[in-house]
Structures are given as C-alpha cells and as structure tokens.
C-alpha cells in the first residue's frame, strides 16, 4: 500500500494547493490513480504525457498531476486533443471527460474523434449525472431516475457509451467500474499503449448528487450496486436473456487495428515529399 501511495505522490504536483474538489466516496480519484499506475507501468515520461480535461468534476482531476495538463472548455476536450496530437504526434494525449461533457454538449466531437481515429485515449468518467452543477440529468441518466431537472423521473432514453463508440468506429472500446480496479488498470494500460482512438468508459459513483436522489443511502451502497450489477462480458451470454438486459457488461468490447489519423497524414506528407524530389 505504502509503495502505491509513494508511486502516486511521485506524479502529483507538490505546489498545488489542496484539498481537492472531490466529494467523499467519489470514484474520480480511483480513476486518476489507475491512470497514474498505467503511465508508470508503460514507462512514459511526465513530459510526453498531455492530459486534456473538460469541464465538470472530471475536468478538475487534471490539475493535480504533474503532466502537461490542459483544462479546456465544456465538451470540447477532444477538439483540443485532436489539435495537440496532429501538431505533435510524439505526445501521448489523454482526454478525461465526464458523461455530460463528452456525450451531451460534446457528443458531436466524440463521434467525430472516434470516426477519425485520432490518436487519443479518451476516458469517460460516467457518473450518470451533472455533479458539479448540482445533480441535473445528463444523457446517461437512466430512465425513471431522479435528478434536479427530472424531479418526476427521467423520461428520456439514455445513451449507451460503448454502443455509441462502436457505431462511430472506435477501434478500442472498453468499460470498467471504479470497483473493478484491476480490470481498470489493465484496460487503461492497454489503451495507452495502442495507437488511434481508444475509448474507456469508467462507471464511477456520485453519491452526493445521484445516489442521494436515487435511494442509495450511502456511497457504499452504490459500490455494492456496481458489484452486483456489473458482469464480465464473457459471462454475460451465459445468463438468461431477460437477466442480460438488467446487467452492465464490463471488459473489452472492441479491439481492432486501424491506422490512426496522424499515421495516415504522415504517410501522405511522405508521399508528397517523395514526389517533389
């Protein structure tokens, strides 16, 4: 344990004023820990990592780590990340977004980043709610759930981030919860090592804004719910059909190899250079 803490301390900014903004029981810190361990395991230098974040609770986690960090505008994280990666493909660009950030206001950018296959690892920290602004419903708030803007229950169907990413053409799509840390470490490490657009959805509890309105008495109840509800992808098919629909599969959904946009662009510039000689 002490070793893990020391490792994380090595990656934190020591001149950043604490305490941090996250509530007790929030899962965002677990994701950041997992990200740090993955960066460390791959031997990436702090200088080559660019952490680009959006607006919301998830957007605030970038400031604590000693990488190149860019806290962008709401929903536009992937556009900044695209510019950074195209301008300097040697950088390891990681985008951290929330569910409202990536899919509501930034839904268009999300689809196009996946379609383009830009070399960015996108982490979507999905807590099914707008946390920072006080618990309004987002595009991943499940039907009939309560929020400050759906006081009588959410009437809209929610997005399935994994299905959306698959349809948009992302070559790597994975999902975990913050309770399944080993799986989370594994998929983030894999994603960071791969070229192209890699999507990792992380289910992370927001007891303060979501749990309290939806009959979760404590944060622990939310983690218990994740434990009960999440199921490894390969075990899903063994369940009866009606139970399958109730559960949330976790694991790696897509793992394909396609040349990334920056690789294809480099190939064109090489070809043009050859032709002009």
């Amino acid at each position: 344990m002490a070793e893990v803490t020391q490792l994380i301390h090595h990656y934190l900014r020591h001149n950043k004023r604490f305490p941090h903004v996250l509530c007790p029981g929030c899962g965002h810190g677990i994701v950041l820990g997992s990200l740090v361990r993955s960066v460390h395991q791959l031997g990436l230098t702090k200088d080559e990592v660019v952490l680009v974040a959006g607006i919301g609770c998830s957007g605030r986690i970038a400031v604590y780590v000693d990488f190149n960090t860019v806290h962008t505008t709401h929903g536009r994280t992937l556009t900044f990340a695209t510019g950074i990666k195209m301008a300097n493909p040697r950088l390891k660009v990681i985008a951290v977004m929330g569910d409202g950030d990536a899919l509501s206001i930034g839904g268009n950018h999300f689809l196009h980043a996946a379609r383009r296959n830009i070399g960015v690892t996108a982490l979507i920290l999905n807590n099914n709610i707008y946390g920072m602004t006080g618990g309004q419903s987002s595009s991943t708030t499940a039907e009939n759930c309560y929020s400050t803007t759906s006081p009588y229950g959410q009437q809209e169907q929610s997005f399935d981030i994994v299905e959306l990413a698959k349809a948009a053409g992302a070559p790597y799509v994975a999902r975990s919860t913050v309770l399944h840390v080993k799986l989370l470490d594994r998929i983030i490490t894999t994603a960071l090592a791969r070229p192209g657009f890699n999507l990792v959805e992380v289910l992370t509890p927001c007891h303060t804004q979501f749990g309290r309105k939806n009959k979760f008495k404590t944060t622990v109840d939310m983690y218990k719910w994740y434990k009960k509800n999440a199921i490894p992808l390969d075990s899903l098919s063994k369940l009866p059909q009606e139970e399958q629909n109730q559960r949330t599969p976790i694991g790696i959904f897509v793992e394909e190899n396609r040349p990334s946009l920056e690789e294809r662009y480099a190939a064109i510039t090489c070809r043009l250079e050859e032709a002009s000689k």
Partner: protein, 387 residues
C-alpha cells in the same frame, strides 16, 4: 484555383495574381503558420481549400477539416499550445460559434489567428454578399471583459500584409488576433507582391530559457507577456480557462484575480502604438476626413480624390487596426476637421466608437448600407460635399 508551388520555401520576391483569400494563405505561410483547422463556409472557404493543398507539402504542415467551427478553433488552440503557429478562417455563422474559444484563448494567452470574411447577417443572412456587421462582435463577442486585437484589410496586398501582422502581433502579445475581411476584399483578384521572407519581419513567441523548475508560467513582468513553452518541452504546467494564479492553478482569491485581469489588459494597452496600424491619405490640410476600413476604404479613397478635384479639402484615415480602437489617430482629425464621415456596411458599429471619442468636438456623419451592396465612391462624395 490555388497556385501550384513546388518548392516549399521560396526565398525570392515574386508577384502573383491572387484572390484576397489566396493572399491570406500566402501571408500565413510567410509568417510561419504550419497548422490550419477549419470548416467550410462561404466566402472564406478558399482559404481552407488552398491550405489543404499547401500545408501537407510543407515540412510539418498540418491541415485538418473539423466537424464544426467550435471544433476548428479548439484544434487551433491545441496546436498552438503544442508550439505551432496556427489559424482558422470562417464567416459570420461560424464566427458566432467560435466565440467561446476566443474567450478561452484570451484567458489562457494562446496566440492564434482567426480570419473572419464578413458576409451579411444576422443568422444565415446574406450568403454571400459583403457586409461589415461583425465589427463589434469581433470586439465583444465572447463573454466577459477581455482584451483582443482586431485588424482589417481593404485590398488583396493588404490581405497578405495584415495576415503577417496578425501572426506577429498574436505571437508577440500571446493573444488571439482576429482579421476581419469582407466578401469583396476576399473575392477580389489583384496583382500582389510576395515579399522576400528573409527581409520580412517575422516574430515568434518567446520561449522560456530558465530551467523548468524555475519556470512560473504566468509570472508578472514588465512586458506582461510570459514566455510560452510548447507542450512536451519539459516545462510542465497547467492551462485553464478558469481564473488562475501565476502557477496556472485555478484561484478565486480577489487579489490574484485582479492581478491576472490587469496584466491581460496591460500587455495590450502598453504596446498600443505597436498595435495601432493606420494609413492616411491627403490628411495634412484636410477639413473633412473620411474614416473607413475594409472594402469601403477603397470607395472612400476615390471619393476623397474626386472631392479634392472639386475643391473640398478632403482626407482619408484608413483603419487597419480596429481594436484596440485607434483613438489617438481619430482624435487628431476630430480636432482638425469640421466633420468626419464614417461610411460602413452596417448600422454604425465603428461610428459608435468615433462618436464616443468625439465628445461633441466635431460633427460625425454616418453613411450606412445594409443591403449587401458596397458603398460607392459617388455616395461618399455626396456626403463629403455636404459636410
């Protein structure tokens, strides 16, 4: 059609029969622009099309077409943070979408150039007849109090020159610079001189020279413009659109907020005379001066010459810097002349500024047209003779 240029960097001076939009590209490449992100919109699209052909032929040149104008400016900011001289080009509706990121670039002090080829508005408006309706939007379009540099050009040669100036100013003061063109200037084809890049003054952002552990990303200094490292160069720091302290970390402490905001304004204000670009024609003994910018300045030029022939001592003050507003230059003529005339293709966006400065000293005449047609020399001459 874009001009075919085989060699990446032509050193000798040459002339070109070029479109205004084409001249913008020539100017940008001369200034060292190596990144363009954009979204198609008439009448600016030629800039993107020519960039799409030229940039991949340059060492490290990057062109990318984004999904919308919000994304375009986001990518441009990202590329600039990664060390590239970057730009985008758009027109009215796209410019409206970019406002959010103009504020971000202003707050985070990211150098970049936005070319807005104005067409008639509001909304989809008049695609694609000329107008000058985005002048105050360029100044105040993004929310919050912020400094900004806005330039304009009235002919094809100026499109090239002012694009270079736009890059130089953005790099020098770490500020977004907006170049306002209009459909007429952008779609006029004229002979221009492309200067020798060796002799042309090109400015690039100052990078930190101290060891990374000494680097304070937003430190106060006499210039007020902090050195700017590129991402990945070893100077790891935090960039945020939130009000931040000298280390770049979010803050809401009043004394730190005040310091940041004051510096943002001071860095532009104190170099006002470096940023103010104006051109005077027949102004020395003028009794009536026309203050104009963009394509209307061309009409005004002819009108002033004709008025002189007819015996009116007329002059032209052409504004190439629109903001920060060239107050000292305008004030001089307000004191000197019995009247100043501000013709423009909007309902009086620049004459507001002139009237504000005028304070009742002189008579400010306006001449406005909002039907998508240029203001003709004859129309200006008529007002000149009455003034």
């Amino acid at each position: 059609m874009p001009t075919k240029v085989k060699k990446n960097h032509r050193k000798e001076e040459r002339s070109l029969f070029a479109l205004g939009n084409e001249a913008v590209v020539e100017g940008a490449l001369l200034a060292g622009c190596s990144f363009f992100a954009g979204y198609p919109i008439t009448p600016s699209t030629e800039i993107a099309e020519i960039m799409a052909e030229r940039l991949p032929r340059l060492p490290d040149g990057v062109f990318i077409q984004m999904e919308d104008e919000i994304a375009s400016l986001g990518a441009v900011i990202g590329a600039s943070l990664a060390g590239r001289k970057s730009m985008t080009a758009t027109s009215g509706p796209g410019f409206s979408l970019m406002q959010e990121h103009i504020g971000y670039a202003s707050m985070t002090e990211v150098p970049l150039v936005i070319v807005n080829v104005m067409r008639g508005g509001p909304s989809t408006g008049l695609p694609t007849s000329p107008a000058q309706g985005d002048v105050q939007q360029a100044r105040w379009g993004t929310h919050g109090d912020h400094p900004i540099i806005v330039l304009s050009a009235s002919n094809v040669q100026e499109c090239l020159d002012m694009t270079v100036r736009a890059f130089n100013l953005s790099e020098k003061y770490r500020s977004p610079v907006i170049l306002l063109l209009d459909e007429i200037t952008a779609h006029t084809r004229e002979k221009i001189q492309i200067p020798n890049r060796e002799t042309y003054e090109i400015f690039s952002r100052i990078k930190p020279s101290m060891p990374p552990e000494w680097f304070v990303p937003y430190e106060e200094s006499m210039r007020g413009v902090p050195p700017m490292p590129a991402l990945g160069e070893g100077y790891r720091f935090h960039v945020t659109g939130l009000t931040h302290d000298v280390n770049g970390y979010p803050t809401s402490r009043p004394e730190e907020v005040e310091k940041l905001m004051q510096r943002l304004f001071r860095k532009i204000d104190q170099f006002f005379y470096d940023i103010q670009i104006i051109e005077e024609t027949a102004c020395e003994d003028a009794e009536v001066v026309v203050i104009a910018y963009g394509c209307v300045a061309r009409s005004a030029h002819l009108a002033v010459l004709q008025a002189r022939e007819l015996g009116t001592r007329a002059g032209l003050l052409k504004l190439k810097t629109l903001f920060p507003f060239p107050r000292p230059a305008v004030e001089r003529f307000i004191r000197q002349c019995r009247a100043v005339i501000v013709p423009e293709m909007n309902m009086g966006q620049m004459s507001r500024e002139v009237k504000r400065v005028n304070n009742g000293l002189s008579s400010v005449r306006t001449l406005n047209r909002i039907d998508g047609q240029i203001i003709t020399p004859a129309e200006i001459l008529k007002v000149l003779q009455k003034a």
